[in-house]
Amino acid sequence: MTDLPRASRSAAKHTGLILLGLVMLYPVIWMVVSSLRPNNEIFRSPGLVPDSVQLSNYGDGWTALASPFGHYLVNSAIVVLGCVIGNLVSCSMAAYAFARLDFTGRKLFFATMLGTIMLPIHVIIVPQYILFSELDWINTFLPLIVPKLLATDAFFVFLMVQFIRGLPRELDEAARIDGAGHPRIFLRVILPLMVPALATTTIFTFIWTWNDFFSQLIYLTDPEMYTVPVALRSFVDSTVATSWGAMFAMSVVSLLPIFLAFLVGQRYLVKGIATTGIK
């Protein structure tokens, strides 16, 4: 008797959830479909079944700006790669010190590090910009990458500290008895064990850097140096609502890496957010 209402309630729930999911993702799916439509169809086809499929939007979009879109993809890839390496190296080093070393002022420094997690980039951008322009780094990737080499993404330092604290200290002690110093313990014992934390860091750094617009907009003003978000934005401004198809096509291209990262790294993403609350 009680099974029937439960079954129908569960069916209703699943229907509701699927409907909601569809409504949420509908605009994105529609954008993908529309990128395959002729321009004049985009503004009168709210549906998902295209009358005709054509790839010309992709060709048009690819060559619509000063450089082929591939150029901006490469620029973004360079920035992302630099930021990922920077975060992995610098944050893991800082995390090892905070989690395992006993030094003067540790509590104070740790609190300072936590304090910088919530520091909005907007508050520091002006002096940062002045510094980097004094160094003649505007329109290079250095202002985007060098801060990551200096462990300024405190989120990841914190994530890694938490992870290292969960590793048994006996392992360090054993290595120490064998005569290993801290660099050796860090490289040979701790780093291999913290691969999950490194993976979480990699995937979040990848997605955030790929999406980052504010600092790339400020530091990259030469079209040669544009990354994908900045290029896409200049596309929007240069074409006054005439070539939505091409714009959608390049938007889809720019979202593809994020989507792939999401598919590959889901496990680490979910774990990462659940343990640290990052977005």
Partner: protein, 298 residues
């Protein structure tokens, strides 16, 4: 006893210094250093070309009479105060629907989480511009039902709402945090309450909310700070202007315009510090109010 301990501490200090060297450099040059520098520059007039010139409280005086700043504050406060509660309500509601043992949980979680990853991209902002445009997707769909739409983005009365919708759309990240929190609540509490005849609503109010309150609080603090920093979407949707009629002029967008369109660096630094103070005040207020409603089990 004392000597070896001191010896070890000394050794660690040296190693710690080496391991923290990049972080120290980052702190001085990229994070804490610029915070202090911003404070100093906030009391100057500086255009990047001529040396900064102290002008006392001139920037503060300017803030008091700066109509666009007041508009930016209004826009930002409305955005934060409307979009964050809606976003968290959606996140909590969905997290509770996706409860233990639901078939396809991992799939649903991924589907609802995906917009959080996409939401801050320029590509989605481009999409939003189309969807909420006068001839956009939304109006096409409304047209199917015979409802006449409007230019949601070109109308100053609705432009901000489209950005609020966008923020609510990214409820997946707090939802995942809620899901993890809900797992920590023992099922037997609900079973015991059900035996005592407590309704679903009572169970929600008396069990879920108090036991989840630290997580709700955490999400609230985080999302408020996050919402204050919204920039990309308003910038792309309004073409960098904050329009129409400054209706999407987020604080960060105004700061960007002063600093990087006008190179009014002194005033921009003062604006940056005001933002820092506002966020700090909101966070402190949150912590203060939390004493009244956040429940810690231990």
């Amino acid at each position: 006893m004392n000597a070896p301990a001191q010896l070890r501490r000394k050794r660690d200090n040296k190693a710690a210094f080496l391991f923290l060297l990049p972080w120290f450099a980052g702190l001085t040059l990229v994070t804490a250093g610029p915070v202090v520098a911003s404070l100093v520059l906030g009391f100057t007039d500086y255009n990047l070309i001529q040396a900064p010139e102290f002008n006392g409280l001139e920037n503060v005086r300017r803030m008091l009479s700066d109509e666009r700043l007041h508009q930016a504050l209004r826009v930002t406060f409305s955005y934060v105060c409307v979009s964050v509660p809606l976003q968290l309500a959606a996140a909590l509601g969905l997290a509770m629907l996706l409860d233990r043992g639901l078939r396809g949980l991992a799939f649903y979680r991924s589907a609802f989480y995906l917009p959080s990853l996409l939401g801050s991209s320029v590509a989605i902002a481009v999409l939003w511009r189309q969807v909420f445009g006068a001839e956009g997707l939304l109006n096409q769909v409304l047209g199917l039902f015979g409802v006449e739409g409007r230019g949601w983005i070109s109308d100053p009365r609705t432009a901000l709402s489209t950005l609020i919708v966008l923020n609510v759309w990214t409820f997946g990240a707090p939802m995942v945090i809620f899901l993890a929190g809900l797992r920590q609540i023992p099922v037997m509490y609900y079973e015991a309450a059900a035996v005592d005849g407590a309704s679903r609503w009572t169970q929600f109010r008396r069990i879920t909310v108090p036991l989840l309150s630290p997580i709700i609080f955490f999400n609230l603090v985080l999302q408020i700070i996050h919402a204050f920093q919204a920039f990309t979407q308003a910038f792309v949707v309004s073409g960098g202007t904050g329009g129409p009629s400054d209706s999407t002029l987020f604080y960060t967008l105004y700061l960007y315009q002063r600093g990087f369109n006008n190179f009014d660096m002194g005033y921009a630094s003062a604006l940056a510090w005001l933002l820092l103070l506002i966020i700090a005040a909101f966070t402190a207020l949150n912590f203060w109010v939390a004493k009244r409603w956040v429940f810690y089990d231990d």
